[in-house]
């Protein structure tokens, strides 16, 4: 993938930390900010896509979020993690677009045909979760309230930590735990009786 005229992202070969880049961006260094865009555009677009369910809206939301975030850098503490901060802005933009478009479709779960996205080596779960089980899980997710789908997406699809989720969702970590537990309980209720995942799953550690 082509990196567009990359900014000087290292000093003597050392990649600049997010904090250094945000400090430079606060001084008006747009190229430093572009490096942050490069670093986080993928997770930003994925976050927006999971919320909007539409590639074009997701791109627009992510782009708007990065522009707005640049002007909001003054409110960002450089020693704080940049990723959840930008994802919070992305998430707000994406939710707004979803509402504006009055779309009511569920979480975007277009699944790959025979190949997992992301890393080349599929996890044990990815190799066994298929067919009826996968369809039932996706259908159950689609039946959940929007908020429940988002909290599940943040944790399991985007792999955000609870601390990151607290920043993205603008709430305390304890609230994240309770909302996640509630979403999982509702997902469990939404699963059809008789579907057992245990026979399809192998222990995560092997």
């Amino acid at each position: 993938m082509r990196r567009e005229d990359p900014v000087p992202s290292s000093v003597e070969g050392r990649p600049l930390e997010d904090a250094e880049l945000t400090e430079r961006a606060k001084d008006g260094d747009v190229r430093a900010y572009e490096e942050l865009v490069l670093r986080y555009r993928e997770v930003a677009c994925r976050t927006a896509y999971l919320i909007t369910g539409n590639a074009a809206d997701a791109e627009d939301a992510a782009q708007d979020a990065f522009v707005k975030a640049f002007y909001a850098l003054s409110r960002f503490r450089s020693d704080a993690p940049f990723r959840p901060w930008i994802l919070r802005i992305v998430s707000n933009e994406a939710k707004n677009r979803r509402r504006s478009a009055r779309r009511r479709e569920g979480l975007a779960l277009r699944l790959a045909e025979g190949r997992p996205s992301g890393d080349a080596a599929p996890s044990p779960e990815a190799t066994v979760l298929s067919g009826e089980t996968r369809d039932a899980l996706v259908a159950a997710l689609e039946r959940l309230p929007e908020g429940d789908r988002h909290v599940i997406a943040y944790r399991y699809f985007l792999d955000l930590s609870e601390a990151e989720m607290a920043i993205v969702m603008g709430c305390r970590r304890g609230t994240v735990k309770s909302r996640l537990a509630r979403a999982l309980a509702r997902l469990r209720e939404a699963m059809p009786a008789g579907i057992s995942l245990s026979e399809h799953l192998e222990p995560a550690d092997g």
Binding site: V30, E34, C45, K68, S74, R99, A112
Partner: protein
Amino acid sequence: MDDARPSVMELEHALRGLAREIAYPVTPSLVPAVRSRLAADRVQQLRPPFPGRALWSRRRILVLAVLGLLVLAGAAVAARLAIGAIQVRIVPSLSTTSPTFETRPNLGGAIPLQQARSAVSFPIGLPSALPPPDRVSLAESYVGDRVVLAWRPQVGLSRIEPTPWGAVLMEFVGFAGTKEVAVKEVPEGHVEYLQLPSGDAALWITGPHDLVLRTAAGERRFRITGNVLIWEGGGGVTYRLETTLSRPDALRLASSVG
């Protein structure tokens, strides 16, 4: 039968597996678009060239101003506090010889909440501690969209005289470097700088104070009688909640906005 459903642990495993099968669209480059938009803003001088430092400096001023107020309590000093697009100016006392005060700001025409959601560029937050608003309207602000939600007096929410409302919540976008939408002139001792449980900075203003709006038609001045909590949420949205509630109750209500 409930027991026949997968356990939560099984669901977590399954969701992690499902994550690897989601076919995301190809990630767009974004950098050229962001770069050109920032460049266009600079050319049109829509934004400050040093957005971060601009407000950082203002925050240092804010901290110094608060410290100054503590040290110089009682002195007739003027200080400036700012949250989002609202600036607060501390004055020794409200002027009794001010030019004519206008009636309360017009809230604009009522529209359905859904229409407001479609019209503004940010997610409209609603306080879960209150029923749906009795009135929703949009108003053009100095820097962008502004939505006004109002609730009639109800149990636990007494009337803000002389308005017909028990609570008025304004939400609008105000980014660093933009000119403030409004200036509040508040007598000494009637404003506090505090933090919401979420960590967001907030200003708490009690009792009568003046609201000065900068509009295309010039400066307009209004006398506000309720207690006002102003805070900044995520995504650059500034919230202004006016009620007759006490500070703890107003904070609780503000914390329920989401």
